[in-house]
């Protein structure tokens, strides 16, 4: 029967593979360009198309940990990440190997921030390469889907039982549309039966489970055993590839794919999506009469050394193209592997390395053609420069508009029209003045406003901005300037309620005199509106969509004010961009408290988001005002333990007036409205009681 095809981006192909595999547990955390994988999966679950436990984790460290926990208990588990997220997972990535957890993880490659870029290179996967995972690189969106299925089968094979990373180039595959054939569910069910863990951590099924601790004498033999396992996985990979081909009509050649290699006397080696361009370069040179072939490395771990050596014996020159540089070694990842595998074989063929496409720069056919020409010309030569760096000139950028003003920020920005975060950051910086350092965990404001500020604005890592602040504050203290320079965050609610919380809590408890400012737009807006710990109940986000099963986010939001109050810090306040004088007063208060070295000042400012909440950009302030007047976002402060409700409407407006103009609540019917209204009234009454009581008793 002919299969039906669809046109879809690589991330959707991955998600379909995960759906067809009937994956049981999916921990998720957003990061570009992986995010749409977990969004498509949440769509499937919300609509009852996939019966899986979907876990909205609060950061990648927890995301990978949840995946490992689930896999240990014996569930088929999938997760996805990239770049900074993968690096943040690192220790658990290592742990998954010893726990023999056949997790499949998609890595939609993105540069790891030495210099940040959203574009792909393999610097993110490089540090994870040698931990014992199987590492697979795909070239096309069809391969994304096929490998999602094959990787489960390979990883879960008892001869392997190791976690597997599937690497797809961000943007070039993740967001690019290609034709993808979807297999039938029944066929997949027959080919890929449910996973049965041999030793699940489940006392009702097994009395034994994988260990993490062994005596040091066992480490060397055990690691040798894992090396054997990885080597043995090669047979399983080939076997699965063959059986997939027999069942679904597509196979890829196992660990490598050879392209026009039969009579080749020179060879290019590539991996990932650049391979498609390399094929065209090889075609062109073949037309010109050159006998050049192409080796696509489909797996980097285990490394396909046998296939490589066989071809190396046949050719007179090899070129290896790397989208990554291993600093201090002078070359790329595949280049160093190819060279080292050939050394003891006695094959003396020149191996030319190329490092290109870093930060996501395109690797065009023309470049690959020139590289291939160079490799052809290397035949019989001793290389003088074994690695060549290939890059292009920067396109011209519009110069900034010169303007005289005394603001701490320049006018204009890259933010959305009607952006509330812009109102907040401008008010913050203009109130604190020029002697301010901003530590900025990744968010849309970093992207949009970091380029138009006139104060130091430092990109901090997502989970650690409060620690960046702590370090800066202590250094200022050591210099005797702690009362002269303010240190503040400009953090989103994801960086505050979720992934940043541990670091904030530590700094609060230690009494660091820093300002924490959270602009609270109630979701991860930078990655495209995923739910956060601050998302109000029943709001639709891209990871809590409305479907036949889900009705938006089912949980109520965290009460961060009270979490901070539990730390007994001297100043805590919520504010709104609709009430600027109140907000300004609170910034001044925070400045005074930190200047006096009294401890942390925590400010949380409500920011209606035109893009994420779906309302007309002219309504940003109006909706902010409604949030306060309906009691949906109470404006309060806790000054040295003294609780005060700053804005107390005589009578609250019905919450319906606040929800109605926002499309994220358009599915809210009378029944849900009653629940939301009930909770808001309940919270408001608690706040009124606290306001009456004044001093919080534990201060």
């Amino acid at each position: 029967m002919p299969q039906d095809f669809d046109v879809m981006p690589g991330n959707k192909a991955v998600a379909h593979g995960v759906r067809l595999a009937r994956t049981e547990v999916i921990p998720a955390f957003p990061i570009t360009p992986q995010t749409t994988i977990i969004e498509y999966l949440s769509d499937f679950v919300a609509d009852g198309k996939l019966d899986a436990e979907y876990i909205h984790t609060e950061g990648e460290h927890s995301c990978m940990a949840a995946a490992l926990g689930a896999s240990l208990v014996g569930a088929r588990t999938f997760t996805a990440t990239c770049s900074e997220g993968l690096a943040y997972m690192h220790e658990i990535v290592a742990q998954a190997v010893n726990y023999r957890a056949p997790i499949v993880m998609a890595v939609a490659n993105r540069t790891l921030g030495w210099y940040w870029s959203l574009g792909p290179d393999y610097s993110d996967i490089m540090p994870e390469m040698n931990l014992g995972w199987l590492v697979n690189f795909v070239e096309t969106n069809q391969e994304c889907l096929d490998m999602a299925l094959m990787n489960f089968k390979i990883a879960e094979d008892y001869r392997v039982l190791l976690p597997t990373m599937m690497s797809l180039d961000g943007f070039y595959l993740s967001y690019s549309q290609e034709r993808v054939y979807l297999p039938e569910q029944e066929e997949v069910d027959d080919w890929l039966p449910a996973y049965k863990a041999p030793y699940p951590v489940d006392p009702t099924e097994s009395k034994a489970w994988p260990t993490a601790s062994i005596p040091s004498q066992m480490h060397t033999p055990m690691r040798k055993e894992y090396e054997k396992l990885l080597n043995g996985a090669k047979d399983v990979i080939k076997e699965v590839d063959k059986s997939y081909g027999e069942t679904f009509g597509r196979s890829y050649g196992g660990l490598v794919e050879k392209y026009r290699c039969d009579d080749a006397d020179s060879l290019m080696v590539t991996m990932g999506s650049m391979t498609t361009a390399a094929r065209r370069a090889v075609d062109k040179l073949r037309k010109e009469g050159e006998k050049i072939g192409l080796l696509k490395l489909r797996y980097m771990r285990p490394f396909p050394n046998e296939e490589l050596i066989e071809l190396a014996e046949q050719v007179d020159s090899i070129g290896v193209v790397d989208r990554v540089l291993m600093h201090g070694t002078g070359g790329g990842m595949a280049f160093q592997d190819v060279k080292s595998y050939l050394y003891n074989t006695g094959i003396r063929v020149p191996v030319q390395g190329f490092v290109t496409g870093l930060g996501g720069e395109d690797i065009p056919i023309d470049d690959l053609y020139q590289m291939s020409k160079k490799v052809i010309g290397n035949k019989g030569k001793k290389l003088t420069e074994e690695v060549e760096f290939v890059s292009h000139a920067m396109p011209g950028m519009a110069p900034p508009v010169e303007i005289e003003n005394d603001s701490c920020m320049y006018p204009g920005s890259d933010g959305c029209a009607g952006c509330g975060a812009s109102i907040i950051v401008r008010t913050l910086l203009n109130t604190l003045g020029e002697n301010t350092i901003v530590m900025n965990p990744p968010n849309c404001s970093g992207v949009n406003y970091g380029g138009v500020v006139r104060v130091p604005w430092v990109l901090a890592n997502f989970a650690a901005a409060a620690a960046y602040e702590t370090g800066a504050y202590r250094a200022l203290k050591a210099k005797g300037k702690a009362d002269k320079v303010y240190v503040t965050s400009y953090a989103g609610d994801g960086g505050t309620y979720d992934i940043g919380l541990q670091s904030i809590s530590g700094a609060a408890e230690r009494g660091e005199s820093i300002i924490w400012l959270c602009y609270d737009n109630e979701a991860y807006m930078n990655t495209g509106i995923q739910r956060s710990g601050s998302t109000p109940e029943y709001a639709a986000t891209s990871t809590t969509p409305v479907g036949s099963v889900w009705k938006g986010k089912p949980q109520r939001r965290k009460n961060m004010l009270m979490i901070m109050a539990a730390h007994r810090i001297p100043y805590i306040a919520s504010a709104s961009l609709a009430y600027i004088p109140d907000f300004k007063r609170k910034i001044q208060k925070a400045a005074e408290i930190t200047r006096n070295g009294e401890g942390m000042a925590y400010l949380q400012v409500h920011q209606p988001c035109t893009t994420g909440w779906y309302f007309d950009p002219s309504k940003t302030v109006e909706i902010g005002r409604l949030a306060v007047q309906t009691g949906a976002y109470p404006i309060a402060e806790i000054d040295h333990g003294e609780f005060k409700l700053n804005i107390k409407p005589r009578e609250l407006k019905p919450v319906k007036e606040y929800l109605e103009p926002q499309r994220r609540f358009r599915h809210v019917d009378e029944e849900l409205l009653e629940i939301i209204q009930g909770h808001i009234t309940e919270d408001w009454e608690s706040y009124l009681k606290l306001d009456e009581q004044g001093k919080l008793p534990w201060y």
Partner: protein, 92 residues
């Protein structure tokens, strides 16, 4: 030993002294037009403008630097005097 700053390469510096405003006039679909007669100079639009594109003129009335205005319409929506009108860019 005195170290030489000029010997440092690949620092990727953020230099806040050399930047400037971001031209965004080409984003606009609607253009806010201030009725100077109606404006009382209360300054609300100034504090709510996300782009800091509004200042006060010599008479203390709101003035928009259209190079930095995206036409979001918050100023018109918030003006208590209704002295700002959003007009289609090609009709303004």
């Amino acid at each position: 030993m005195v170290q030489d700053k000029s010997k440092i390469t690949a620092f990727g510096l953020n230099d806040i002294s050399v930047k400037g405003g971001k031209y965004v006039a080409n984003w606009r679909v609607y253009k806010p037009i201030i009725d100077k007669e109606g404006c009382v100079g209360c300054g609300l639009c100034i504090s709510y403008c996300p782009e800091e594109a509004i200042t006060k003129d010599d008479d203390g009335k709101a003035e928009i630097d259209y190079r930095f205005c995206k036409g979001c319409g918050i100023c018109a929506n918030e003006c208590p005097q209704k002295a700002i009108e959003m007009k289609k860019e090609d009709e303004a």
